[in-house]
Amino acid sequence: MRRGRLLGIYTIVYLVFLFAPIALLPIFAFNDAAIIAFPLAGFSTRWFERLWTTPALHQALQNSLFIATVTAVLATLLGTCAARAASMARFPGKRAALGFIMLPIALPEIVIAVALLIVIRQVFDLPLTNWSVIAAHTLICVPFSIAILNGAFAALDPSLEEAAMDLGESRWSAFRLVTLPLVMPGIVSSLLICFIISMDDFVLAQFLTGANPTLPVYIYSLTRFVDSLPLIMALGTILVTLSLTLLVIAEWFRRRGAARAGLKTSGGLL
């Protein structure tokens, strides 16, 4: 199959294109030189050590972790409501309402950032805090959460919950004993994905962050100093490792959920 082979070669080249930047990250993070360029100067962990002794970075990391955690919980809660509703009976305007909830994914982030900034500062004259960032991140994470959880809820046989009720459970305990355990992998997966999205977001954070920047905003501020580039590489290495770990866990949970529901897995996280 010549055609298949050509396509295969192209796909490999494309994957190299996709992964090349990330592969470079650790190379320069452990490189013993302040200038990011070849040839390499030798192995060093000094950039990681400097990360360890930068208080501003720790403050930013703390902010980001707080924002990402709260965002993940809020977005998953709202996403669960919507995904569950999507798998239930139809009511007038249901499609429109659910479509509207997915809208933030179809808008440029800068528009959302601008809109929230105006409301918070001009309309309500409130200060910008971590909570303004959380509000924005939750808004853009809900559609992702719904996309993940829709699969989990749609795969459920609706008669499972009815069977539980038929066997004596109330509606709430039927949900708790049957539906919740079955969609739990999807919920965990949604929590992790929303966490990653919030940790990574720069645009909304740049507009809405308060006195204390988030991690990406802090990283961006570092770019003005050429000698801090290796520092960014070291930080990036840590972040990518963290993202990858969470991603693998999320995917593992998603697949376990599918296996539990007796389904064949297909498709990725989106």
Binding site: D157, S159, A163, D166, G168, E169, L177, V178, L182, G262
Partner: protein, 361 residues
């Protein structure tokens, strides 16, 4: 025997759609009752109304004398075997069967014994530790039965329980369900679209079309004396003949086009008979062919073989008869010495007025 389940004037609307149109029904204690009909006839809606998953728009439902209005599914003395079986995939077989015992005050060991007994009863002894999603279709069905029966419901509701099984398995389970029902003595209500299944298993059958019960009777009556052309064609194979009722007083005198005159009993007209044009039904097995060399017994009409379908044990012949609009289908056992006739063979068709049924128009 008293009625265990009473439905009076049950209606169900979904927006503009009128799913149930005035259902009146009484189901006796210990009965194996079937709701039979094509898809969309409302039989599943009716079952789900009894289970408590649908609230009727109008009418009353009593179970064991108690009005079920406002009683949720979990508090009704009914249990259900779902079409998909709804086996909880995250639980083991034993945990599935024990699901409804959560609020049961008995000590743990007694419950475990009850679970083991229930599994034994459905032929799954020793399967308790298995993961539910690893079961075959037939095994899932047995787990669903054990899970429902362990709660000793007054009524067991079965929603197309055999439709997901292959033919062999279906036949096995039909027999097992009948035996099980006789052993436990619980009232079974079965929803099915398979007329053969309903005939084999039920004490009584309600045939439903478009949200209404068209006829309710025991299997034999339903088969022999369907009250309408629709019921007749839904259950088994039926030949339809045009003709008229000449007299409908003490004696019912009829004239069947192409076959001739005769007299029928009142039982042969379950929907009543009025003088005038009417449709008659006659089952293929109540007609017979005169083979070459055989002496005809009874009334014979001459015809020509139009189509032959060979089934192994049986052969179905379509025979064209002068004056009869459609060829009559006749089923003949392939007894020893009987040849399979060729298309075009002239034959005699034996018929009897006692096997006619007068159908409402």
């Amino acid at each position: 025997m008293t009625a265990l389940i009473e439905l009076k004037g049950i209606h169900k609307h979904y927006g503009d759609y009128h799913a149930l149109r005035g259902i009146d029904l009484e189901i006796r204690k210990g009965e194996f009752f079937s709701l039979l009909g094509p898809s969309g006839c409302g039989k599943t809606t009716l079952l789900r109304t009894i289970a408590g998953f649908e609230a009727p728009s109008q009418g009353t439902l009593r179970i064991d004398g108690r009005d079920m209005q406002g009683v949720p599914a979990n508090l009704r003395p009914t249990n259900m075997v779902f079409q998909s079986y709804a086996i909880f995939p995250h639980l083991s077989v034993a945990q599935n069967v024990a699901f409804g015992l959560r609020r049961d005050p008995r000590p743990r060991e007694q419950k475990a014994r009850a679970v083991a007994d229930a599994l034994e009863m459905v032929g799954l002894g020793g399967y308790g530790g298995r993961a539910a999603h690893a079961l075959s279709g037939g095994q899932r069905q047995r787990v669903a039965l054990a899970r429902a029966l362990i709660l000793q419901p007054k009524v067991l509701l079965l929603d197309e329980p055999l439709s997901a099984l292959d033919k062999k398995m279906r036949e096995t389970m039909q027999v097992e369900l009948i035996k099980l029902q006789r052993n436990v003595g619980i009232t079974f209500i079965l929803v099915t679209h398979d007329q053969e299944e309903a005939l084999i298993m039920s004490d009584r059958i309600a045939v439903m079309f478009e949200g209404e019960i068209a006829q309710m009777a025991d299997p034999e009556t339903l088969y022999r004396r369907p009250n309408s052309r629709r019921v007749a064609s839904f259950i088994g194979k039926m030949n339809f003949l045009e003709g008229r009722v000449d007299e409908a007083g003490e004696r019912i005198l009829v004239d069947v086009a192409g076959l001739g005159r005769g007299e029928v009993s009142p039982e042969q007209a379950p929907a009543g008979a009025t003088p005038g044009p009417t449709t008659f039904g006659v089952r293929p097995e109540t007609l017979s062919i005169v083979y070459p060399g055989e002496e005809p017994q009874g009334r014979v009409a001459p015809g020509i073989v139009d189509e032959v379908v060979y089934y192994g044990d049986m052969t179905y012949y379509d025979v064209r008869i002068e004056g009869v609009a459609e060829p009559l289908t006749i089923s003949m056992k392939n007894l020893m010495g009987r040849p399979v006739l060729d298309v075009g063979t002239p034959v005699g068709v034996i018929w009897d007025e006692k096997s006619l049924v007068v159908l409402s128009r």
